[in-house]
């Protein structure tokens, strides 16, 4: 009976492949329950049988640690990156300073700008920071459409319902999106690091512990990097 680990939906792309590799290398299967990091945290607090939590936000793992639900401290296994995303055939030029978007707001041509919910989604928080850094927050705020999570924000932007959006790099790399969108990586300096943390929960078994370690090893890090994460120094 393979252990269940909980993972934020946003790491699904990479994690799927890592789990395959893990199975290939160790012969152990894991089952993964995806949800928002917040949901998962709550479920863990209410006794969910998860053995490992991969959160998109350092706050949740910390919270669980404080509440003595974990085996030890959390570890940052990757850092998320933001990209500016737009539908393929828009004429919008994408640049790191978002000047084209600035012009749109000034000319009143910006209709909808998609981000994840800055209230609770880590990529939403980061997106807000980026916009604030660039001094665009106030002018874009009225045009925001806010996704439940970063995937939803990407859906907004990729379907053309919103002109442009700030989403995670890992999502932008999804094959279905790559064909339909153009993206531009946002400098990591424009927001606080998007720490993807993980923590072993107190009922973690051997397999989970193995996987916890596996995630910190080279093979997993390579996969993570391929899926648009910066990987912290070993």
């Amino acid at each position: 009976n393979s252990p269940i680990i909980a993972a934020a939906s946003s790491v699904k792309f990479a994690l799927q492949e890592i789990a395959e590799a893990f199975y290939h290398d160790t012969g152990n299967r894991i089952r993964i329950s995806y949800s928002s990091s917040g949901n998962l945290t709550r479920q863990i607090q209410q006794g969910a049988p998860f053995e490992l939590l991969l959160s998109a936000n350092a706050g949740y793992t910390e919270q669980l640690y404080q509440q003595n639900k974990t085996l030890g401290q959390s570890i940052t296994y990757a850092l998320g990156r933001l990209v500016l995303i737009t539908e393929k055939n828009t004429s919008l030029t994408l640049d790191k300073q978002l000047s084209a978007i600035k012009i749109l707001t000034e000319t009143g041509n910006l209709k909808r700008f998609a981000i994840a919910n800055p209230l609770h989604a880590p990529y939403g928080v980061a997106a807000q920071e980026v916009l604030q850094q660039l001094g665009l927050w106030e002018s874009i705020k009225p045009h925001l459409v806010v996704g439940e999570n970063v995937a939803q924000a990407a859906q907004f932007a990729s379907s053309g319902a919103a002109q442009v959006g700030l989403v995670s790099y890992s999502i932008a790399l999804a094959p279905a999106l790559q064909n339909r969108t153009r993206t531009l990586l946002i400098p990591a300096s424009l927001h606080r690091p998007l720490q993807q943390t993980m923590v072993l929960l107190h009922n973690a078994g051997e397999t989970s512990k193995l996987f916890f370690i596996y995630l910190q090893q080279h093979k997993a890090r390579a996969i993570l990097a391929r899926y648009g994460y910066s990987v912290p120094e070993e």
Binding site: E87, L119, A121, V145, E148, Q155, F156, S159, A161
Partner: protein, 222 residues
């Protein structure tokens, strides 16, 4: 308490009911009184909006109404408006996901009216519209009311579709359900609970008043 969101939700519910009432009556009545080939298929189609997860249904609506292509493009050209990220879009989405709750109970309500009573009405010289208004609607009323109550509650509570089609824009598409959900996700349990409770209380008052009114009007003759 997010009064704005509550207001929006109530407005959305009422506008939805405003459209659903005639739609439900029309189709409910039609399904109740007509026999035709493929009736069970049609009835089935009506239940289907329930089968898909709301978010998924919402995504398909988003794609369909998105102004870049197909229907959305045409709508945009024709009416100069899109049906995503605005109140109109929410209304359309609400209507679609409430169809089963509106039509099914009304169909049952209409089909439980004895045939000879409708016949007697025709023999009194009432036109079909008149019969509908004076005989069928009053007799189907309990069923219609409970259909409307379900739609009302369901619209207040639905957030999956609304979130996707509406884009969670404060004062425009951020309903109370989304607002509660957001607080909850942000671990603002207290706000979420207060808002949930207020919403429950408000619905409770509205709905039980509705039921009480409808019971009272029934009591005399049932």
């Amino acid at each position: 308490m997010d009064w704005q969101a509550l207001g929006l939700s109530v407005k959305l519910s009422l506008v939805t009911l405003f459209f659903l009432l005639p739609i439900g009556i029309f189709f409910g009545r039609w399904l109740a009184y007509r026999q035709f080939l493929g009736k069970s298929i049609l009835q089935t189609l009506l239940a289907l909006p329930l089968v898909l997860p709301p978010t998924v249904l919402g995504y398909y609506l988003l794609v369909i109404f998105s102004p870049n292509q197909g229907l959305g493009l045409w709508l945009n050209k024709t009416f100069g408006t899109t049906f995503v990220f605005n109140f109109e879009g929410l209304v359309i989405a609400s209507i679609i996901f409430n169809l089963p709750f509106a039509i099914q109970p009304m169909q049952r309500a209409f089909s439980s009216i004895p045939r000879d009573i409708r016949e007697a009405a025709a023999c009194c010289g009432m036109s079909p519209a008149h019969v509908l208004w004076k005989i069928e609607l009053p007799l189907a009323w309990p069923g219609i009311i409970s259909a409307m109550v379900m739609c009302f509650a369901h619209t207040l509570g639905e957030f999956g579709i609304v979130l996707i089609v509406g884009g969670n824009i404060p004062a425009e598409t951020q309903t109370i359900a989304i607002s509660i959900y957001d607080r909850m996700q942000a671990f603002d349990n207290q706000s979420a609970s207060i808002m949930s409770l207020s919403l429950l209380l408000f619905s409770m008052l509205t709905i039980s008043f509705t039921y009480w009114l409808s019971e009272r009007s029934q009591k005399k003759h049932v």
